[in-house]
Subunit: 202 residues, 2 copies
């Protein structure tokens, strides 16, 4: 199998947006309609949506989709993976020529939405990957977001905009040293249980 | 930071189950109630559920939760990550002493549910990680499940039981060679769009 473009700087995010509501189709379509996606490549099927392009625009669009869905007040989950340097990814892409002006920032920066998030960072192909992970967790603790340990993940609690700033910084800092990085995340907003009421299921 | 138990054989799965329905709380509670979780450690909070124990029981329980949720007929998404050998994971756990008899197999093996799935395998700490991934993708094509390429993931279409058998085999085979493995997955069942009607959102 060909291993293409391990040094490509194209960033991708494959995610599933799940509004826990009968109106989930309307909410997903509403969120997508509210977001300006003209600077990214995108494709949606029955399992997930994939966004590809420059890092700044991929994060801008994913953040905006989550915020516009969450502002409906419904319980919204979003799980996905950010990737860069995937050897299977295609290199040439017109979307890499876009300018660095994020198109959705003005619309989303004032949305004051809280969320819980769990994320995990996977620097690939490196024996020192755990050092890279711990560096980023240590750095995360200096931010506005509440950072705690969870099984197989780091938990973040705070404003969605602060959480996305943190995720984007962690991803950006890691890719400086590591050519292939993936970062998984799950966000939850408007949960009726909330963080204060963690429950055991067994 | 201490790096504990890189050779621990405890398997974990952190996942988010999302029924796209007003009744999502009932559906989640129903699915959890239908599943025998006595051989695994589990914890649920507002973002996700974590299941830990022997590999056979972790896969058995996650599969059963998805199948019991999907048999309600509602559109169900489940996104998660299976892990083994995580240096932050705790070693000693009474659940590792359980026998290898899967408690939910009799209840779930006859549930004839179709789903779409995207998964990605991350063998960590290894420079030859892409070879391990390609070996497993090649092997997957020999199974009952329809395997296709997707951005940043491999797509599977088929019966949920066949999909979980494939995921468990991929994970099991990879861990023979690699001490720290994670595998992300997103499953979607009862989607009104289905695979035949892939749509572009932009
Ligand atoms: Ca309803």
């Amino acid at each position: 199998m060909n291993q293409l473009c391990g040094t490509s700087s194209i960033v991708g995010c494959q995610f599933t947006l799940s509004p826990m509501s009968e109106r989930y189709v309307d909410i997903i379509l509403f969120a997508l309609k509210e977001v300006n996606m003209s600077k990214v490549w995108s494709e949606t099927d029955d399992v997930s949506t994939c966004i590809r392009g420059k890092q700044i625009h991929v994060f801008d669009v994913v953040r905006a989709i989550f915020l516009h869905a969450a502002k409906t007040g419904e319980h919204i989950a979003m799980s996905g993976t950010f990737s860069i340097g995937c050897p299977g990814d295609s290199a040439a892409d017109v979307y890499m020529d876009e300018s660095d002006i994020a198109l959705n920032k003005d619309d989303t920066k004032e949305i004051d939405q809280l969320a819980g998030c769990k994320f995990a960072l996977y620097p690939l192909g490196r024996e020192d990957y755990m050092e890279k992970i711990y560096e980023q967790i240590d750095w995360s603790k200096e931010t506005e977001v509440n950072v705690s340990h969870s099984h197989y993940a780091t938990r973040l609690d705070g404003k969605v905009n602060d959480i996305f700033n943190l995720l984007q910084n962690v991803f950006d800092q890691t890719k400086q040293d590591v050519s292939h990085v993936t970062m998984t995340f799950t966000l939850s907003a408007n949960s009726p249980t909330g963080k204060a009421k963690e429950v055991k299921v067994s």
